[in-house]
Point group: C3
Chain length 268, copies 3
């Protein structure tokens, strides 16, 4: 059975419980907020001023939508998910528990005396349609402009997406990976778990980065990279296979030096 | 003084504050929930439909227990901890702030057009007796069946336990470690900080994995591993000691080649 | 334009929305708490017994301050931030969403039978003036005494600061870095992303640690380190440049051995 057939079969047998429609009396909803049809807003959910929320939204308890956020249809947010001020979210987006969309970027300017001044994070985070973000992941807002997660990207738990990054369409980002500021990912990129990516670089379409790799420069389309710092995975595999032999190699070379010196002395 | 004596002495001098018994009027408790004796349920805590909660439970403010979860005696959950639908938790379990038990596993099926379909996560997470989980750790539910954390395991902060994993009895998992789906840990395993473990493999009883290691295959009982990818820690220690000498080794070998060529020319 | 001028200019054009002053009727504030002037306390915020909170505090919805915490002026806490019991926080401190200050340290004593007894975490966390902590970061309380983050330090998202650590003045700690217990950082230290630091060691003033490094011993003032385990960044750069050449080096040395053996046979 192919994976997608398995997915379809499973969905026939089990569907997660869906909270009842309606706004719970213990939710806090601003009068200026516009909420679509058939919404389910749980207890202690907070919807700020001027929020726009599409149809069929499910907000579990303790979801907080800051003022001015705009969210499409079929939004599904689990307990303790947060959407910060003025962020924009498309249709059919799922946020698991504890996801933070639009927290301040990590931006500071160093003063002459060594202290750091906070740079106001005036930008937003934009999440396009069909994105799913797993538990306890943070997608920071931009200093200026926007951080963007494009259509269909799936982001696992405990991932950090820095300010002004772009995550490409249908990208898969596995758990505990971090993107520093202004990283751009192309379409269909796969980052395995615990990958670290420096800022201000581009990983082009279809690239694959193995777990625990460190990416410090651009990656070409379709390239497969591994290591910290990363290089071609095929070459990396050869290097890490050789790595345990390194101590023996050192000894061999020292012996070669001695043997060669003996020969050279004999010839002189 | 041995560590366990220190622990006992310290407990005589300090005990953390315990919230008063009773259900706070600003908590939201479903009528169908069954709550044991002597419970302390803080403001804005949420207990869903058909939840079963044992005796002496402490739920700090903002703890959310989704519908159908079953929890044993002496449960202690700090603010913002979450137990998702239908998960099962044993006795004397402690969840620190922000822990998510039973968030959806990261499971998607790739369609022909490159997009990903969500696989319904129909399974649960089971936490056995005497488990403690530190702040902001996520133990995902299984796609089918269960994710299980066995009796007495202790899991540090910001750890990711993927879907259908098994954490063994008395295991210690340090901060920021991640287990991909269907990883099985034996009893008494120690994973140091920032370790990454690929899925569908077994780390057998008593194995020890050093910090920042990457585990891509089975680990035998009692084995001590290090490196990314990991191998025997003893051998790894020799390799990483040799690693800083690698540039000099390269130069030496180039010189050996020249010296050897000189001799060979002399002989020809 | 220098970075700090950019910061100043940007602040003229954009200021994040500031919640209205006043205590929201759906906040839960203990009668014994003392709250300064001009506070803004959002819905579902919780302020425990005997909390002291300075002037101009902003507590977004769902912020939880446990009993006995003491917090200075101009405190700004985003939704779902937590300050645990008896912790102390200075002036002008900013906590982004989901930050946990003072969660229990990861301290257990191993019993003869292999199980682990929890060591009561009797200490606190102290955050000094002008500290900012980004989303979903955990600064654990100490087993005894205190964990301390000194004046002006900035800590990024998903960072783990273990029990009894000291973070120095004006330090910068980037995302997903972890400090094990009792680590001491000097002043002006920079830890890049995903760094891991073992416990019971000191990184002295002005040291710089590159991304994904592992620090297992003391680091001298001003030293620049990289690698896992880390050594001088300058030397590390040479080693990792040589690393992809390791498989070829192995082959070369094997050939040298053969060629040398041929010569030696000829001479014998």
């Amino acid at each position: 059975m192919r994976e997608k057939d398995f997915a379809r079969a499973l969905a026939l047998f089990y569907q997660p419980p869906r909270p009842k429609a309606g706004v719970h009396p213990l939710a806090s909803v601003a009068l200026s907020a516009r909420i679509g049809e058939n919404a389910s807003i749980g207890p202690f959910a907070v919807i700020g001023e001027n929020v726009v929320l599409g149809n069929n939204a499910v907000l579990h308890p303790h979801v907080v939508i800051y003022e001015g956020a705009e969210i499409g249809d079929d939004f599904y947010a689990h307990a303790h998910a947060v959407v910060r001020e003025h962020c924009r979210i498309g249709h059919r987006v799922i946020l698991q528990n504890g996801v933070i969309v639009g927290g301040d970027g990590f931006g500071f300017a160093k003063r002459a005396d060594g202290t750091h001044a906070k740079i106001v994070q005036s930008g937003v985070t934009v999440i396009e349609d069909d994105v799913e973000i797993q538990t306890l992941t943070s997608v920071d807002r931009a200093t200026v402009g926007e951080t963007r997660v494009k259509r269909g990207a799936k982001i696992d738990s405990l991932v950090q997406i820095g300010h002004a990054c772009v995550v490409g369409e249908d990208d898969i980002i596995c758990s505990q990976t971090g993107l520093a500021g202004s990283t751009v990912l192309g379409k269909g990129v796969l980052l395995a778990g615990q990958v670290g990516v420096s800022g201000h670089l581009t990983i082009h379409d279809g690239a694959v980065i193995y777990a625990q790799s460190g990416i410090g420069g651009d990656v070409a389309a379709g390239q497969v990279m591994s290591g910290s710092p990363a290089f071609e995975a095929r070459d990396w595999l050869r290097s890490i296979t050789a790595f345990p032999k390194l101590p023996e190699l050192l000894r061999t070379v020292r012996q070669l030096e001695k043997r060669l010196a003996t020969i050279e002395q004999g010839e002189s």
